[in-house]
């Protein structure tokens, strides 16, 4: 989610900046990569020129959708997440979240290969095997205890598209789903298609309950995590909309750089 005032110049700067940096997971790089504003001349530590690397030409519309989403989150999702948290204590929620993450292994490994990262794909496979066996079908993420497997960078189709040089397109706040650039929205749809939980659901769609049983944990667990992130970002914010947009951009820049 990743700061100079002029959108056009900032775009070119970010492109130069897209090479992976090994040493840090920060998306805001040291001074030379980012265009400095007048504010930074007397402060060498200020390298936060405001870069809008995803253009936002439909901001008024986005702000409208964002407002709508906020109401839905506040009045519908929040109570749901609260109920979910009440019924399932933290260790159970972590277990559910781990199972869902583990089951989405194909999505990550397919994209590691599409990005030609065989080493990461290998580590991802090792992680999947360890968590599926010793971690009892992924309930316990035992791989966190193994140094070589504790920090395998997770990837998805959006990152693959970014690596292939497909531009972001503009920033869009989608109803309910929240912010995705056009590219990432297509990536998001592909991720769902690559997700075994979807396959099971499609196969089971004739039996309504099975479909609900397979999709609900994914949606609830992901929704609950995302709701926590949304709260962290917006509580204490001055302008919710900009806070979320900046965070989205910075986080994506980081994922693309590793």
């Amino acid at each position: 989610m990743g700061l100079a005032m002029s959108g056009a110049t900032a775009e070119t700067v970010t492109k130069k900046n897209s090479k992976p940096q090994v040493t840090s997971s920060t998306s805001v790089k040291s001074g030379k990569d980012v265009m400095s504003t007048s504010g930074s001349q007397d402060d060498p530590g200020d390298d936060y020129a405001t870069i809008k690397h995803i253009p936002d030409p439909i901001e008024p519309v986005n702000r409208g959708t964002f407002w709508f989403n906020h109401q839905v989150y506040h009045y519908v999702f929040h109570p749901l997440v609260k109920a979910y948290k009440f019924v399932f204590p933290q260790p159970v929620r972590t277990g559910i979240s781990n199972v869902v993450y583990n089951a989405q292994y194909p999505c990550r490994v397919i994209n590691d290969m599409l990005q030609w990262k065989p080493k990461t794909a290998g580590l991802e496979t090792e992680k999947f095997l360890v968590n599926s066996t010793a971690g009892v079908a992924g309930i316990f993420r035992v791989s966190d205890k193994i140094p070589s497997l504790s920090d395998v960078p997770s990837t998805d189709t959006s990152v693959t598209f970014a690596k292939w040089g497909i531009p972001n397109g503009c920033y869009v706040v989608w109803p309910i789903l929240g912010p995705y650039s056009i590219r990432d929205f297509v990536g998001f749809a592909a991720d769902i298609a690559e997700d075994p939980i979807t396959w099971v659901t499609m196969g089971a769609s004739t039996f309504g309950t099975v479909a609900i049983a397979t999709t609900t944990p994914r949606a609830t667990s992901k929704g609950s995590d995302q709701m926590d992130n949304y709260d962290t970002l917006t509580q204490g914010s001055v302008d919710r909309y900009s806070a979320v947009r900046s965070a989205y951009e910075q986080n994506h820049k980081m994922q693309e750089s590793r």
């Binding site: 840090s24 997971s25 530590g45 970002l233 900009s242 980081m254």
Partner: protein, 194 residues
């Protein structure tokens, strides 16, 4: 054989240790601060006690002056000294409140420190991973040496810089309503305690 290897080994051994001196100081300062915070969270009985106990160590290590100035960015110079002071105060309240609200008594993060790297003389980035409430986060602390005292000037969580995130927001407010618009937006956020 042994002696022949000794000198180069000594030289090689010495060089990084000289270069590491600054890193060590920043990292040591951060570690001490994290330990202090974790100790408070561990023994706190109530949420209110936790919040009031946790503030002094946070205020010592977080450099609110620098964070406010950089979050506001180029607009900072258009603020009068009195306005700058007010902005810093408001920002401090906002950050402390948001940060302390994240902690629950007895639930503390397990923080793992990775080797820090220097971005410029007197500036360090200390990458860490934190396990908290079942999730794993990458958090990088950007630290600066202010007359021998290392302070945190930014926290980057999963690629999201706190200062950069506020810069985007303050920019939007400043463009919309100038200095007064910016300050009143900050006042509004501070007043909004829910």
């Amino acid at each position: 054989m042994k002696t022949r290897l000794l000198l180069p080994a000594l030289l090689i051994g010495l060089l990084p240790s000289l270069a590491l001196a600054a890193n060590d100081a920043a990292e040591a300062r951060l570690k001490a601060s994290v330990d202090e915070v974790v100790a408070i969270v561990k023994q706190a009985k109530t949420r209110d006690a936790l919040i009031s106990d946790i503030k002094p160590p946070l205020q010592k290590i977080l450099n609110f002056g620098v964070m406010t100035r950089r979050s506001i960015g180029p607009a900072w110079r258009q603020l009068t000294p009195a306005q700058q002071e007010e902005a810093t105060k408001l920002f401090t309240v906002l950050i402390l409140r948001t940060y302390t609200a994240k902690f629950t008594p007895g639930e503390f993060p397990l923080v793992e420190f990775k080797p820090s790297n220097s971005t410029a003389p007197g500036r360090e980035e200390v990458p860490t991973t934190a396990m908290y409430k079942g999730s794993r986060y990458n958090a990088t602390y950007r630290m600066e040496d202010q007359n021998g005292n290392w302070t945190i000037t930014d926290v980057v969580i999963e690629g999201v810089s706190l200062v950069a995130d506020y810069r985007t927001q303050f920019d939007a407010e400043f463009k919309r309503g100038g200095v007064e618009g910016l300050l009143s937006a900050m006042r509004r956020s501070v007043a909004d305690t829910k």
